[in-house]
């Protein structure tokens, strides 16, 4: 179980990106949503250890992991899929799957992982993870790495961002499939209604605060009101 206690994160000029977040995530499929700039990606990076919070504690299965590095948290079972996948000159899909699994995978294992994100291992396994791959392909490989790790907590930062409609449709299937098969906790930052519909719980972040948390039915009613308020008058007129 992951627990965040009074997590705050300030940057220069005393701007607060996260304000006193308290949250318990205990299994299932959790979606974090809310307007852009609301602190969602920052929260994911705080959990993965990429950003150190200004204050507060992160507890994983009863252990305080606030002071642990990215590597230590990864070893304790946290996986994090970047919103913008990283490109590597020279490293292939095979290399990255091997590093994700911590061992050499058989072709059968590689094929299972890649086919579950809609890629054929024969075509992709020896491709370099560089700019020759499309945004959708990179995104699928990013997700494949998380599947290959199979850890108890998997964080996905806007997996739908930057991919085309066709890729998106198959991506939804990937998460629906994960929901059925994965035993650990899946946390997805998303704006997509179809992803939110699949979630067991939805968390809404706005202006760095957790403003709503609950099941789809509990959150959905005032979700739109909640996240659209605060838009300036001129913008509202023009929408």
């Amino acid at each position: 179980m992951l627990e965040l206690k009074n997590i705050s994160y300030d940057v220069e000029d005393n701007k607060e990106i996260l304000k006193d977040i308290n949250l318990k995530i205990d299994g299932g499929f959790v979606a974090i949503t809310g307007p852009n700039g609301g602190g969602k990606s920052t929260l994911a990076k705080v959990i993965a250890g990429i950003i150190k919070p200004t204050s507060g504690q992160i507890i994983l299965d009863g252990e305080d992991i606030t002071g642990l590095t990215i590597t230590e948290r990864a070893k304790k079972g946290i996986s994090y899929a970047f919103q913008t996948p990283v490109k590597f000159k020279g490293l292939t899909v095979k290399d990255l799957l091997k590093l994700s699994m911590g061992k050499n995978a058989s072709f059968n294992e590689e094929c299972n992982i890649l086919s579950s994100v809609g890629l054929c291992a024969r075509d992709y396994i020896n491709r370099e993870v560089n700019a020759s791959l499309s945004g959708g392909e990179l995104k699928r490989i990013e997700i494949a790495m998380i599947l290959a790790r199979g850890t108890k907590l998997s964080l996905f930062d806007e997996p739908e961002a930057g991919i085309d409609l066709w890729s998106f449709n198959s991506l939804i299937k990937v998460f629906e499939h994960m929901r059925e098969t994965v035993k650990g906790t899946i946390v997805i930052i998303s704006h997509q209604e179809r992803i939110l519909n699949t979630a067991d719980r939805i968390i809404v972040l706005k202006e760095g605060r957790l403003i709503k948390e609950g099941t789809k039915d509990e959150v959905y009613g005032d979700l739109l009101d909640g996240i659209d308020s605060g838009v300036c008058d001129r913008l509202e007129e023009n929408i």
């Binding site: 990429i50 990215i70 590597t71 990864a74 970047f82 020279g90 490293l91 290399d95 590093l99 911590g102």
Partner: protein
């Protein structure tokens, strides 16, 4: 041969035991084994150290290994090897050099290789340079490669220097004829206080000639690298050179591209990028459970693969 020498041979020329096909092994400045085939002749030069490698026209799917190893500290070896590739031949040539220096004196190997490729011949040329030994003596290698490509000929050169060479100045020159192609892929890693300089000079003289020079390098610690590429387009041609370097610690990398188009239909491009390992690459691999040092190693190994 000692184990060190056998390991060096395996590393620079992928030779384990007795190699197949034509070979000439040079050890500490003298011949240490030779084999010719019906199509490939190796002839010792009479006027200077080195051999002529003569490949008959139409020879296909054969290979020549001409590795050099130096295990005597303080030896300075200079060798001239000339390759004559017959019309329509298609062969692989492997010419590595390994120095194992456990003494205090400088060991050096200067190999001067000249390739004459006849019409429509094709060569894959693989050259690996490795230095080992824990002595204080420096390992020095200054390879020179000169390539003449006749009409429709194709030469692809893969040159690798990954470790242990303290100082190297590598000269590579190509004269490219009609519809001929010259490709160079260079990989270099330097560390400690090593110095590596690469000097490419390619003249695209023929109609439809092309050259592609790609250098990937990693400079660590206090090492220094220079990459100079000069491509001249004297006819309707395509030239491309690319220098991509990762810089670490206190290393210094200089890239100097020079393109001269002397024909209105010459199309020449140079790309150069020097920078440290991207932070996001390290972070990504750390989220897979690698330490920062392990992540760095994976990125460097992949880059130079």
């Amino acid at each position: 041969m000692t184990t060190f020498e056998e390991n060096l041979l395996a590393e620079v020329a992928d030779i384990h035991g007795v190699p197949e096909g034509a070979y000439n092994i040079r050890k500490n400045g003298a011949a240490a084994g030779r084999n010719t085939t019906a199509n490939i002749d190796l002839v010792t030069k009479e006027d200077k150290p080195g051999i002529d490698i003569i490949i008959k026209p139409g020879t296909k799917n054969e290979s020549v290994h001409i590795p050099v190893i130096i295990s005597e500290s303080g030896l300075k070896d200079l060798v001239y090897n000339d390759f004559y590739i017959g019309e329509g031949a298609d062969v692989t040539i492997v010419a590595g050099c390994g120095i194992h220096n456990c003494g205090d004196q400088e060991s050096a190997h200067d190999g001067i290789h000249t390739f004459h490729l006849a019409k429509n011949s094709k060569v894959k040329y693989i050259e690996k340079h490795v230095g080992t030994g824990d002595g204080r003596g420096a390992n020095v290698m200054n390879p020179t490669t000169i390539v003449y490509l006749e009409e429709g000929a194709y030469l692809e050169m893969e040159t690798t220097q990954i470790k242990g060479i303290d100082s190297t100045v590598r000269e590579t020159e190509g004269v490219v004829g009609d519809n001929a192609t010259f490709i160079v892929k260079e990989k270099i890693m330097t560390h400690g206080s090593q110095y590596a300089k690469t000097n490419f000079k390619v003249d695209l003289n023929g109609v439809g000639s092309s050259a592609n020079v790609i250098s990937r390098s990693v400079a660590k610690e206090d090492s220094k690298q220079e990459f100079i590429s000069r491509i001249t387009g004297n006819n309707e041609c395509n030239g491309h050179s690319e220098c991509d370097a990762i810089i670490m610690d206190r290393a210094v990398v200089t890239a100097i591209p020079e393109l001269t188009a002397a024909n209105v239909d010459a199309s020449l491009i140079h790309e150069a990028a020097i920078g440290k390992i991207a932070g996001e690459q390290l972070i990504k691999l750390m989220t897979l459970g690698l330490s920062e040092a392990e992540a760095e190693e994976q990125i460097v190994n992949g880059f130079l693969k």
